[in-house]
Symmetry: C2
Subunit: 205 residues, 2 copies
């Protein structure tokens, strides 16, 4: 099986399937079908079967998918069968919200450090975290071999912060700043942009 | 032209194209190509041409797309050639961040009211907004004919708040709570879930 060539658009749907499976598991379900899953996530049953079959034969004709088995496979494919340490850069409102967010649990991520460059914030507590000096970020990220960061600085500071992260070895950046950032080809960026989500809905209004 | 049957996955890509076009326009560009656009957004040039051609012939062989013209068409299709009033429900960290977010400007949305049910928050200022009593939300939403809300309450309160919004006439909910909500068929929900974005990147690490 060569997973190298699977389109990113399919990869992007797997976390959605995993989240829906978790929801079914939480409500005590043991098996599901592509139809049921499709209704939960708003994607056709045929598309779901096609997406999942890219990675192997995980379902059975007539009996559907075992939820624990399919979740295990998806976690394995997405590499969230482990726990990734993640850092938060920028402790404004969004940084605070992420530091206090309880949605990372059991989904493959653990916030391990939070940074800011504001002397009024450094050394203070946010939830369980002490805000660390962004000036020490590079050495700390290297020491802990951090590969993933959530970037929550103002737009004007985003590119410089991203450059620092990349230099320190970060390979995946979740960017909350409302601006595109330039990174080397081997660094992945995802954007959290409320407006694109809103625009996707206004089409239907 | 019947836009009724255009797949939602295509609609979901249009805001991404629009954002990239805005970025090009901001840097003074007048024209672009599906190749250039594709590199900016990480989608193949062929896919972009196919997506856009669903709505008409907006580009010219050899000269590519006029950026202002294509932006106008996309804004028109997505119905963000107007300004939609949006409300924020729940003034925790995320609600604060959205109230102060400057990324809505010129993208079709204007935050007009913010609500919370905490007496300690009601009546206080957040950015330019006075926090309004969630108990008065229904009448205010109806009076202002609000169709769009951003839901930023804790997970445990999300379904009840969503029910209130739906009863008050809201047809599009951007849900920040880490939980799925049930709404009638004619109400659209989009989820902001940082974990799905992180999982999409770990696949490549």
């Amino acid at each position: 099986m060569t997973t190298e060539k699977i389109p990113d658009i399919i990869i992007g749907r797997l976390p959605i399937y995993l989240r829906a499976l978790q929801r079914l598991a939480d409500s005590g379900e043991q098996t599901t079908s592509s139809q049921e899953l499709g209704e939960l996530v708003g994607i056709s049953a045929a598309q779901i079967r096609k997406d999942i079959s890219q990675f192997g034969e995980f379902g059975k004709q007539g009996t559907g998918y075992s939820i624990p088995f399919l979740m295990e496979k998806l976690r394995d494919i997405l590499k969230v069968d482990r726990v990734w340490e993640v850092v938060i850069v920028g402790m404004g409102d969004i940084g605070h919200a992420l530091a206090n967010y309880n949605g990372f649990n059991n989904r493959g991520f653990l916030v391990s450090m939070v940074f800011d460059n504001d002397p009024k914030k450094i050394g203070h507590k946010v939830g369980d975290f002490e805000v660390l000096d962004a000036g020490t970020m590079s050495e700390k990220l290297k020491a802990h071999k951090i590969r993933i960061a959530m970037l929550c600085v103002p737009a004007a500071a985003a590119q410089e912060a991203a450059d620092q992260l990349v230099k320190a070895g970060v390979k995946a950046i979740l960017n909350y700043a409302p601006i595109s950032i330039n990174v080397p080809e081997d660094v992945h960026v995802q954007y959290i942009d409320p407006v694109t989500h809103l625009q996707r809905m206004t089409y239907y209004l």
